[in-house]
């Protein structure tokens, strides 16, 4: 091997090792941080590990929002076929309203109860979470 070839070999080796490490890191990080997205109907049929974080999208059922001792809120998310009850501790976003679309993220404590650590409301009056057809109601 001459000098140029040696140099190229080192370069390729370093590049390969770096990309391998990067790919491994990325895959490990992705595996841990994927939030699967479900509609309330899909939750019923899916098998979900209680330790996996997930997101549920739907409409906040009218009349279901209850505020308990100050910052604890309970409400029901529906896709007009099935419902999931949600509890959340903290301040809800400005656009959170009964009858509006939300995406909640957290852990499923019971088959139809989610303990949420995030509540997202869309900055759009006409927004509907994917998979929910409001006309079905």
């Amino acid at each position: 091997m001459n000098v140029v070839q040696k140099r190229r070999l080192y370069f390729v080796l370093i590049l390969t090792i770096c990309s391998l490490v990067a790919v491994l890191l990325v895959i490990a990080a992705l595996r841990e941080n994927i939030n699967l997205f479900y509609t309330p109907s899909e939750i019923k049929t899916a098998t979900i590990h209680p330790k996996h974080r997930l997101r549920i999208g739907g409409i906040v059922q009218k009349g279901s929002v209850k505020q308990h001792n100050d910052l604890e809120t309970f409400f029901v998310v529906t896709d007009f076929k099935q419902t999931v009850s949600v509890s959340y501790r903290g301040i809800l976003p400005d656009l959170f309203k009964e009858g509006q679309g939300v995406v909640v993220g957290g852990y499923l404590l019971e088959p139809n109860h989610l303990k949420a650590d995030e509540v997202l409301a869309k900055h759009d009056e006409n927004y509907q979470p994917p998979g929910v057809n409001q006309n079905a109601a």
Partner: protein, 650 residues
Amino acid sequence: MLPEIGQFSLIIAFVLVLLQIILPVIGIVKNDRVWMQSCRSLVLGQSFFLTLSILILLVVFAFDDFSVVYVAKNSNSALPFFYKLSALWGAHEGSLLLWIWILSGWTAAVVLAARHLPIAFLARVCVILGLVSAGFLLFLLATSNPFWRYLPNYPLDGRDLNPLLQDLGLVIHPPLLYMGYVGFSVPFAFALSALWSRSMELPWAKWMRSWTLSAFSFLTIGIALGSWWAYYELGWGGWWFWDPVENASLMPWLVGLALVHALMMSDKRRVFQGWTLLLAIITFALSLLGAFLVRSGILTSVHAFASDPARGIFLLELLVVVIGGSLALYAAYGKRLISTVRIEPWSRETLMLVFTLLLTVATAAVFLGTLFPIVNEVLTGQKLSVGFPYFNNVFIPCFIPILLLIPMGPIIKWGKNSILDLLKKIQIVFVVSILLAVILPLAFTQKTAGLATIGLTLGVWVVLATLQTGYEKSKQKGGLLKLSLGAYGMILAHAGMGILVIGISIVSHFEIERDVALSVGETLVLNHEKIQFMDLRRVEGSNFMGYQGDFLLAKTGGESIHLYPEKRTYVVQGTTLTETAIDPGIWRDIYLSLGESLEQDKKRNVKTNVTRWSVRAYYKPFIRWIWGGALLMAGGGLLAALGRRQKGAS
């Protein structure tokens, strides 16, 4: 009548753009200077007519002409005048026009400023920028014309501007961001022209540097403003959310940063020229991808305002044509650029190559996390989202070596270096940085910074080592004033990066976020500062109504001030919005925002002494350092760009 004139000048501009492509191409084929020269006047004509049409749209907004669909959808007669004007870029059609107008502005700037460019090169640059501009103008005219009318029955009043956008930060954020995004079209056009010229000898890297630096600096300011806006306007006190739209702006920024440095190698040493050209292509491609992600609504995001599948598909086609075309050109002619210069292992060349590679890897990681949900949904039908811990987990390990390298770049010389000399130069600063990162948090808070100590060390290291380099450089030159603008730019930009990292490390470790329920009269203690809920009253603005809290903040120094967070309901759209109240400071921000009223019985008369609200009370140490550092970086970039221009002139 006026909107029709605006529409008309858009069409004229489109025709001029087509000529701006065709005539110089004829000139290039015939090798005729006169045909090539035509590009100058065509570019200026094009930007004149685009300026005219954007001015007309501004006038239409100012005079509340609700017969124009776009105005009716995004403005209202009660909207404050200033926001009527900025409503122009409040939604899709107008921001696209702004985008095209800025593109024409950059093209005109190239034509006017780059007098030293050979005409054959300039003609090629104009053709390529013309192609990009033609694509977007066609898009605008065909799918998203801002001058369309509601006739004959037009609404009496408009639907108002999205209340989130009624804010100074958002008035200046999009234009600056677009200056950055679109600015990368210039290095892109230069890179393609260099390939198209098929000449190794052209000093294209020298010509590109000031343009790339300026675009990069504008993008930096744009992103920083966006982050600042999200911090005080969205009301959750975060400054970065790894939201797809933020990622869309971060990706071109990262590759743009790599490009700025790769250009130095290509200019000064004529090495890695192929890599540099590829980076220029990728940077612009990612800018376009950003536009596609934001405008198509393919990703759900808090920032995505308008979405329409037809628009998405057009943008995707444009993206494929631009990326496919330029990569084909690169594949065909890029081989000529492979240099046979020997690269020393311990040299600035190697360091910069590694630096640009690391940035590319970081970009790839962000790219994967942002687009993985789409790819996965197409392949498996399963919807998912990638949580922010993913981005932190992959991004931070990439940035640790990047930060280690940053201040070493200016210390290590081009060509062969002795590794021992290098280590000798940096060892003291490095040890001091570690010590400071451990001792300072202990001294002020009696706590260590935990894992953030690593970030803090790196931030302090970047600042100190950069200052040391600046000191040595000025000693060599015989005085601080003798340093070149480029050297000042480097010192500012590198130190800015260090300051940004210090800010991020401290705020993410030491911040205190408390969501509490408070009644009027109650007091909350937040990191030794007392916040008392004094009063709650009703407020009314020209287009909103709401509540205003009155909080008394007793600072540690004994001084006390009032803070007035608000909860507003914008009448026309019926949206509720939080107006935060912040006591800003170099060392810490106190951040208050009103949640909601916790009165169970809303019908009862509100007596102020029993009013109970949920309140976010946040203590954010060093958060200003993040935006301050970004602004320094942008300032450094602009100084360096200016320095390059002066050098070019002399």
